[in-house]
Symmetry: C2
Amino acid sequence: MSYDKEIRNHYLKGHEQYLRHLSVDCVIFGFHNNELKVLLLNAIYAGLWALPGGFILKEEHMDEAAKRILKQRTGLNDIYMQQFYVFSEPERSSKKVNEQFLQNVGVTAEESWMFERFITIGYTALVDFSKVQPVADVFSSACEWFNIHEIPELLLDHREILGKALGNLQLQLNYHPVGYNLLPTKFTMPELQKLYETILDRQLDRRNFQRKIVSTGIVKRLNETKKGVAHKAPYYYKFDLRKYQKALKGGMGFEL
Amino acid sequence: MSYDKEIRNHYLKGHEQYLRHLSVDCVIFGFHNNELKVLLLNAIYAGLWALPGGFILKEEHMDEAAKRILKQRTGLNDIYMQQFYVFSEPERSSKKVNEQFLQNVGVTAEESWMFERFITIGYTALVDFSKVQPVADVFSSACEWFNIHEIPELLLDHREILGKALGNLQLQLNYHPVGYNLLPTKFTMPELQKLYETILDRQLDRRNFQRKIVSTGIVKRLNETKKGVAHKAPYYYKFDLRKYQKALKGGMGFEL
DNA sequence: CCAAAAGTGTTTAAAATACACCCATGC
DNA sequence: GCATGGGTGTATTTTAAACACTTTTGG
């Protein structure tokens, strides 16, 4: 099937495999160069950047749909994803946005399920930046990481969705451990701290931070220091998966 | 339109006004006789108790749908409601449950949108027990309050939904003030404490509790004591709406 | 006047915060 | 050898938890 034909088919027949009126949008966070990043797609028809999204297959769990979308855009499997909010403003997906695209594809608004109202469920994922190979979908010309402080104009209400996801992430930081998916297996304490500081967007005390993290037991120090760095070499740590998972469920009950 | 005809019509034509595949289920909490209560409907066709639920009109905000359902079951307006989770297990609304009803109404599964898969959004509300006049809907024979510890077998996955709502409420107690909708305008500190204890399902220290609440500033003490009670008369308090609303948004940051 | 519930204050423990000193490495 | 970042410990403040006494009211 040719490129255009695939899109046209999706617009005309997509409702045969997907649930109507429902979409999933994923806010995929990564961490690189001490910056919090978000993965965005460039939507060809709108000429705007957008959150990676998709639809729910008729017999598929919503969580599975989110994971499928994540897999397609990043190549990653088995990532912990979480729904954080449902966006249901009736006018959120206005037909206007799609008007230009309509002509390009040669579909009228009346004959496509894609121009009906959509309610979208927001999902978040925290992924290892270095393991991701961003892949665009058929509706997009590019898939790239953006610094959280340099987000361009986004499609529809995607900025609102992103904002809510970030607020959610900041809140969760107090109850759930973060980092397992965002950092490489081995990491240093300053790196973990930078991650926390980036998410919270404020400075933390180096020594108190270390004490807090160590006291939760979610990390284990390795007998190995980082090589080739200026100044004193920091120790490597790794997550204690068992305690990390436990903290994920039960909550850690600490405040930064 | 007759009773049966209204139901039949809903099964055959409901999709003309409502979004397909989507429903809203409300967990409505009340407080009475020092007990946490939940409002349930008795679903005629299933012979089981169920959460009050409904569907989303084609041009309606989901939040409005939840409020509409609340209004219909309780008569209450302007209650703060909150989505807390989306339930999307593909098999959650199995056709089996409806089989008996199918025959009664004379509709085949193939011709009704009601037998398609449903994803439901859970909403919570906290309401003033004394102001509620429970009203059943056309699918139900009764609408009643149940003690949170005496919940009967529920329809579909409604017990799971209720459980999630309760867990959510307990978590929120640490960040959001609770009580404005659950208690009468004037209330005593012991009453507020009982409410917290009931939700958390554990005892709290009377003196520390009072200090915590007062320190948040969400309540104002009145120059009036409760009359006609044995033993020392407790003061009445009322919520300081401005600070209460502020705390609702910003969070209170206290732990009990 | 006594039992039961409510108001208020103090003492103690734990946790968060602030801060100071020493150590290792690359330039 | 010194500037920079990292490791570790301690004092201080703040907050939570435990606890005791007095006051009021109905019976």
